[in-house]
Subunit: 126 residues, 2 copies
Amino acid sequence: MRFSKQRELIKNIVQETNSHPTAYWIFNKAKKKISNISLGTIYRNLNKLNKDGIIDIFYDNNIARYDWNTLSHDHLKCNKCGKIIDVKMHTKELQKEVWNQYKFETENIEITISGTCKKHMNFKEK
Amino acid sequence: MRFSKQRELIKNIVQETNSHPTAYWIFNKAKKKISNISLGTIYRNLNKLNKDGIIDIFYDNNIARYDWNTLSHDHLKCNKCGKIIDVKMHTKELQKEVWNQYKFETENIEITISGTCKKHMNFKEK
DNA sequence: GTTAATAATAGTAATCATTACTATTTAAAT
DNA sequence: ATTTAAATAGTAATGATTACTATTATTAAC
Ligand SMILES: [Mn+2]
Ligand SMILES: [Mn+2]
Ligand SMILES: [Zn+2]
Ligand SMILES: [Zn+2]
């Protein structure tokens, strides 16, 4: 794989945010540095970076989100503000349990918990 | 909500399979009974049935799948044969932990484990 | 430094899943 | 039977992503 300033930029944009951005968000950010960068270039490179293990992809409903954090982890998604937060909820235990109960060989575990984050909660009393 | 034979058929198709079908699969199945049923009718009714709590929707990568099983449960997805199997992996414990650690109010928990099912595994010895 | 080979790009067209629109049909209350 | 509005079929539109293609740019060899 040969160097390109577009790919370098895209990689940096993903690695500098915790927001689990979409391709379109990355596209708009990238345009500020390379004004004529194309959306196809964004997608092509995000997929390439993912295949090389540089970044992660996961799907939030029907749209892809990109994650600098390639270590196995989980997500809390707030239905009020849309924020997606990294958490660590599952352990090697779960993988063992899946093997013991179902003889299923785990490759990847994804836990997504949706609900309301503390910022957007209405407390009964103050 | 008024009766319609289209909705009745769609509901029955979803409730008679464990395959977590896509809208398109349901469409083809439905056409065998009502040959001119439209794909829009499939989607409209699947969404309606979901809003009424009759069926569940979840996303497998970027495509919607429909589930007769509306009780909270998890899925094993085999990367070899594509089969998606119902399992029960999470308990109320997890919800409590999310609250204690993050003050996050859980609405829904989704665990998807991908890997290889026992049918498609190569055992080292017989 | 120049040349040659080809990976990567910008711009655009195409695809796939899903939703929106609209004239017509149909369930069901009166 | 008449009336009212929910539901439908058929089609158009949308949004996310991938495919295509002529041009540009990186890198290795000379
Ligand atoms: Mn993350
Ligand atoms: Mn299920
Ligand atoms: Zn929030
Ligand atoms: Zn399998």
